[in-house]
Symmetry: C2
Subunit: 334 residues, 2 copies
């Protein structure tokens, strides 16, 4: 029997666990051009916080009582569409559930012959695309630029930092705690890592970036933004990444206190979400798939098993317990 | 005898009048490639606040005891340069003084045959250039865009607003008080004016810009920035103008509280100063001179007479008493 996670109310801030309800509802019979999926992997994303906020945004909020919105990958187990056959793998907004019936328009086929399917929810999915377009299309790192990435051991930040490194930049990652910082230098090969929990970020930046900062990939806003901003070079660029919303305390994700620096140093700050770039996904996919295939890009995943883990998984996004792209493995739920 | 205004100390915040000292010092004899000028007009500029702050910026601070830095226009009254003859008019950093001896490299000749010389300190000077490049090169107003300009009756804002109007945009100006607001609609022909002293700016923007805002030319930061930001349309642009420094309370010129909007609406915020654009001054001058000649651009000036008025003039920049480009007429001082 299919199992679902449903939203019962719009939380005011971070949701208590009571906002999530589990159900075991049968799926409707297939209509024309619909397919039935067995969902093996679900993505737990920062953007979810926006989807459960009851105000207009780039996407309508999830309806109360409805299955929670989520990206997933699954296999076609029944089809009334000419586009899909049994055994095809697809990705899209499949919802937080073990099975789904969806329109064939709502999903995209993925090629899992040489890649594990969950990769299309991490490095070869929205996470990877976000890192790619934010860093390469907006940030445009140049050789010998000094680039700083906050939340650099996170899903998006980790890929963005590696892409800047491949472009020939000197890359400094900011993360919380010695384990994540060691990962940045030892595994991802960044030039320096700053543990924002260990001391003054400004002083650490002075040491790691003595010639100032040319490009900042901002995943956090707030105090770290201020510390970086005060060290930005003339005509520096700040990419304000959509994943900034992964922080529970939105008020901490305020803009820069030192707004004057934007003027005196002719800085450019640009926000973006993947909405701007959906038409260019193939370009990102090509670069990311190549990096995965030749081992030059590492996509770290943090996997939790079973649909029941969702309330805990969601909280992890905000307290920093996860390390890498947060995914739920539903293969044991079938 | 020449008369000067000198800086005696670096103020901490807005300078008290005691920081300015007047002197009557003879000028040095001319060296090779130097010229002597009779200074008729001096510009009182927001940027001065940065020049009397003792920290590195895009320009070194004025040295203690030195003549205060200022743009001026003057006539050549003595020349040991092949570039300049008696009777030539020039502009440049001539200093807050009635006469000056400067290198011929420090000034630029201006054509005053059909234009009053002080115009090269307002609409045909840095003020006009700043408005031109900020609005036309960074902001790029499109036909039917809704454009908001803060400090719109100010020196830069007034010209920026008119340029947006000429580009076919719907332009809303924000200013303080009914006189300045009437000037915006009645004299400059803007589509709407909002008196920020008269009520809630957000509600006034809802009424004046019911379809949201595409482009914001920000001269003030702070609360007005927040009110505008919350109403910016998808892919909106915010031009952060160098003249933002005209506000005494720099802490009020903070960045946006609602930084998330930069992400969710894919906004671009870009700061600039004329430093980026000095090589393109002729382009601006051509457009601005044409607008002045055919009457389509109005350059409002606020004129004070005599060097002694400087301490008061400087304070005006910060309390909003001036209305238009603040200039000092030194013709009575000779």
């Amino acid at each position: 029997m299919a199992r679902q996670v449903r939203l019962t109310d719009y939380p005011d801030g971070q949701p208590a666990r009571s906002f999530w309800a589990f159900s075991n509802d049968d799926l409707p019979p297939l209509g024309d051009n619909e397919i039935k999926l067995r969902i093996d992997w679900v993505s737990v994303d920062p953007g979810m916080s926006g989807w459960i906020t009851n105000k207009p945004s780039y996407m309508p909020p999830v309806k109360l009582g409805a299955v929670m919105r989520a990206f997933g990958v699954g296999e076609v187990v029944e089809s009334r569409s000419e586009r899909f056959q049994l055994g095809d793998w697809v990705t899209g907004f499949l919802g937080l559930q073990t099975e789904a019936v969806v329109s064939h328009k709502a999903v995209r086929k993925i090629d899992t012959t040489s890649k594990p399917p969950q990769l299309f929810l991490s490095g070869l999915g929205m996470t990877g695309y976000t890192a790619y377009f934010g860093m390469m299309d907006i940030g445009c790192p140049q050789e010998n630029d000094t680039v700083v990435v906050s939340a650099a051991s996170g899903a998006v930040g980790g890929i963005a930092a590696q892409l800047a490194k491949q472009a020939g930049a000197r890359v400094i990652g900011i993360a919380g705690g010695p384990v994540k910082c060691a990962y940045l230098t030892d595994e991802l090969g960044l030039d320096a890592a700053i543990d924002y929990k260990a001391g003054n970020v400004g002083e650490a930046l002075n040491a790691a970036a003595p010639s100032g900062i040319d490009l900042y990939f901002d995943n956090v806003g707030g105090e770290i933004l201020d510390a970086v901003l005060d060290r930005m070079n003339y005509r520096g660029r700040i990419v304000v990444c959509g994943s900034i919303s992964q922080y529970a305390d939105f008020s901490a994700a305020r803009g820069p206190a030192n707004y004057m620096r934007v003027v005196t140093h002719s800085l450019k700050m640009q926000g973006f979400t993947m909405r701007n770039y959906m038409h260019r996904v193939p370009e990102a996919l090509e670069v990311l798939a190549k990096g995965y295939a030749d081992g030059s890009l590492k996509f770290r995943e943090h996997i939790l098993e079973g649909l029941e883990t969702f309330p805990d998984a969601y909280e992890m996004l905000f307290d920093g317990r996860n390390h890498g792209k947060l995914l739920m493995d539903l293969r044991g739920d079938h």
